[in-house]
């Protein structure tokens, strides 16, 4: 939560309680929340409790029977969260389950956090690179721009491409969904056409067949070696991330090149990635960061708070009192457990 969004919720008639120190990670002092109209105190007994990560069993114990919890609840990978919340009589909404429909765009926390992750991924690549991203012209001669390849052109991939382009790198994007080629081009990047189509449902790619995957791999491995920077962002909800950058592809890259693997949390897109670590594989640096948005806490929090606030506004009436309409597509889509009788 950030003070600006506290003000907005207050204006809608809600009382807001903030746990002391809640903004410390984002360097937001308690006083800033108070100034925005929040009360500092014990937040767990509120009608609606908002957090980021899934609640621990201890935290679930502190929620009140009949209360509402909103957060990233990992319904696909940690289904035990929903069971525990159900037992506690809590009605819970998972931010990652909000339907990807126009009306819910303002609540799309996956996208807003992916924007942060994509931006930070390119910064991380530039930081670990032994080379300039922009072309540099000096009296002693010119150094050419870095060549950056981004695999997966979702929100994170497009933001990574846009940031690499801004920094002056020669940027290229690839995705198994050929219809996103125009989006890649719209951020000033080139499209890498490997000649495969795997358009799926809900904005994600479908899984490829074994044969398609082998062909994609062979073509990708060949392409990757020409790049100074490869950023991978390919994820399939609830499954292990696909391997796109093989050990062989890394071996053929030029020493000093960098791989940033944004799929570290679901196993990684690079065969040599160690989630949360920086690996040096014969001169190639491979970084698989965990929770990149937490590295840019103020804006990551602000975007998340705005997304949550848009959902909260849908759950309350004009007086700011809890009034959940389970017939609403967004409400029913994001609800992972519902108290009996509600």
């Amino acid at each position: 939560m950030v003070p600006k969004v506290v003000e907005r919720l207050r204006a809608k008639g809600l009382r807001v309680t903030v746990e002391p120190g809640a903004g410390a990670g984002a360097l937001i002092p308690d006083a800033a929340y108070e100034k925005a109209g929040a009360t500092l105190g014990e937040p767990w007994s509120a009608d609606i409790v908002v957090k980021v990560a899934p609640p621990t069993p201890e935290e679930i114990g502190r929620l009140r029977d009949g209360g509402v919890l909103i957060g990233f609840l990992a319904p696909l990978t940690e289904p035990e969260n929903a069971s525990r919340l159900a037992e506690a009589g809590v009605t819970a909404f998972a931010m990652e389950s909000i339907p990807r429909i126009s009306r819910a765009q303002s609540m799309d926390a996956l996208s807003s956090q992916a924007n942060v992750a994509g931006y930070r991924a390119t910064l991380l690549a530039a930081q670990h690179s032994v080379r300039f991203f922009p072309m540099l012209t000096t009296a002693a001669g010119t150094v050419p721009p870095a060549k950056a390849l981004v695999l997966g052109a979702g929100v994170a991939g497009l933001q990574a491409l846009a940031t690499a382009k801004r920094l002056g790198a020669h940027s290229t994007g690839y995705d198994v969904r050929p219809e996103v080629a125009d989006q890649v081009r719209s951020v000033g990047a080139q499209w890498l056409d490997l000649g495969l189509d795997a358009t799926g449902e809900g904005g994600y790619a479908r899984e490829l067949t074994d044969e398609e995957r082998a062909e994609q791999q062979a073509r990708l491995t060949k392409s990757i070696t020409g790049f100074d920077v490869v950023i991978t962002t390919a994820q399939v909800p609830g499954r292990r991330a696909p391997t796109l950058v093989t050990a062989g592809a890394v071996r053929d890259m030029r020493p000093g090149s960098v791989v940033i693997d944004l799929a570290g949390e679901s196993g990684g897109n690079c065969e040599l990635s160690v989630p949360g670590e920086v690996v040096n594989a014969e001169g190639i640096t491979i970084v698989a960061p965990l929770n990149l948005p937490s590295e840019m806490p103020e804006h990551a929090s602000e975007l998340y708070a705005r997304n949550v606030s848009a959902l909260v506004e849908l759950l309350v009436n004009a007086d700011g009192a809890l009034a959940v309409d389970f017939d609403d597509e967004i409400v029913s889509g994001s609800c992972v457990t519902r108290r009996e009788g509600d």
Copy 2:
């Protein structure tokens, strides 16, 4: 040294010996030097020895009587280097003493390394910032661009400004020399006019009088508080760096803001800087990195090697043999000690 420049020196008729492992820091394998025509071996007995940092007494002992050494030799801050080299009968050229004249631009290693430092300073600022540099427009609303201020508009400052602008920050530059305002504007940044003039000799600012400094300080301190990022690059050759960002200025910045102090090696431009460390002062992050070019080793080495190579070409004849013309302005300007009889 980098393989490309080995090729160039070979083409001029020079034999090049590279110390095994010399490229390790820049992830350049020994084989790449060999492929470019270098011999791997003991380099200290060569006619011309090239390195980056000043030589240790032990290294000076390995240089041959009558040989030439080229490197950053810190003639103003470590005059003992020149005395030791003189005793050893070595003729030494300091890259930082090369005159700032048109003909010597290709040898200007201070500028090429400042280009690297300025670029890396902005990356470091973005990495430590809790906020986006670019403006971000999402369905949940817009976050404004970061506001970056760069103090000192030399090569490093201009590159820092250009990089911040590329990344999408609202960028502002300041220098005590008002005639560089157009250079600041030429990289897309705004000019901060505090109404002081301290144009000096040789491209550096002159020292301000006490009164001028107090007035500058008061005006700067007031301006600084409005910025998310402050990058300082103010140095006076051979002297302690001036304090531009006071503890009071830092205290008045918004929590989550960042100061990058590029003058850490000469004491720092920020009162709270600790050279080589990252300091958190009540929510403001202050970073005073040492030797930033070493963090981007391939291109830093490449630019330096090109600068050195331009000087080497001036010191040899058409056959690639040592033939030093001490009447040349560049040769005499950069020579810090000369073997008797040479």
